[in-house]
């Protein structure tokens, strides 16, 4: 692990915490905010990225009573595991298919959008499994609204990654060859 990992994990945690506070209006009286899993993973790799999202979720639940202690496990599974690690591998494999800078940007946008939809779909599945709401109702509702929120996730993530590739390309995580 490189030395820059320590401040980078600090900045990523601070930034994603702050960004998650910024709800922006999307459609029909609904708001959305950044998840940031794919964003974190592009700089830190999938596992350190997932750890950053986990730190943010724990702080939100413990300090600000947002998200909830009893929902923490589900939140970590949905957003840190599936949203971040899963989202990173979408980015990684799309990056293998589409080369060059344009390919990276496309992979970033697609993975960020997908991470929002996938994480919210898993949340819908959990709501259905817990008997909160039937899957046929809650899944299309959650996936639908997060397909729109995901567009913002993709825009914000792509803007930051595109900007950082220009000014600090060394900070982008490179998968070590096994």
């Amino acid at each position: 692990m490189q030395d820059k990992m320590v401040p980078l994990m600090g900045v990523a945690s601070a930034f994603i915490f702050a960004a998650q506070m910024i709800n922006f209006p999307v459609a029909g009286g609904t708001s959305g905010h950044l998840l940031g899993g794919v964003l974190a993973a592009i700089f830190l790799g999938p596992w350190a990225g997932a750890l950053v999202i986990t730190i943010v979720l724990i702080a939100q639940a413990l300090i600000f009573q947002d998200g909830g202690i009893t929902a923490l496990g589900a939140n970590i599974l949905n957003m840190a595991m599936l949203g971040t690690v899963g989202g990173y591998y979408i980015y990684y494999f799309l990056g293998l298919l589409f080369k060059g800078k344009k390919g990276t940007i496309f992979a970033t946008a697609a993975a960020a959008w997908a991470s929002a939809v996938i994480a919210s779909s898993l949340c819908a599945l959990e709501l259905a499994l817990s008997g909160t709401s039937p899957l046929t109702i809650v899944l299309p509702a959650m996936a639908g609204i997060h397909a729109i929120i995901g567009i913002f996730e993709a825009l914000i993530t792509t803007f930051i990654v595109g900007f950082m590739i220009k000014i600090r390309p060394d900070l982008i995580y490179k998968k070590e060859k096994a």
């Binding site: 320590v6 702050a18 506070m21 209006p25 708001s31 750890l51 702080a59 009573q65 949340c123 809650v138």
Partner: protein
Amino acid sequence: MVTGLFISVAIGALISPFASSFPDGLEKVAERIGFMEKGEGRQILGTPFFDYTIPGIANEKLSTSIAGGLGAGLLFAAGCGVAVILKRMKKKDA
């Protein structure tokens, strides 16, 4: 890095008071389908910083602003701390 931390604290302190107060994706779905009340379970843990506010500050925007700025600083420390622990663990393995 310093710039990144500065931007994060600035977002937390300066932009967060103006964030949309519309319900988010999950809250909206919960409202529409009607399972919002299931989220109002028994409180397990209390905190003085409930819903991103600082106790004793009546001005809601100022309160959110301080909570956002301090929160971002705290999260920076937490992120660095976890990274330092990880680094030490890796050294032991090697």
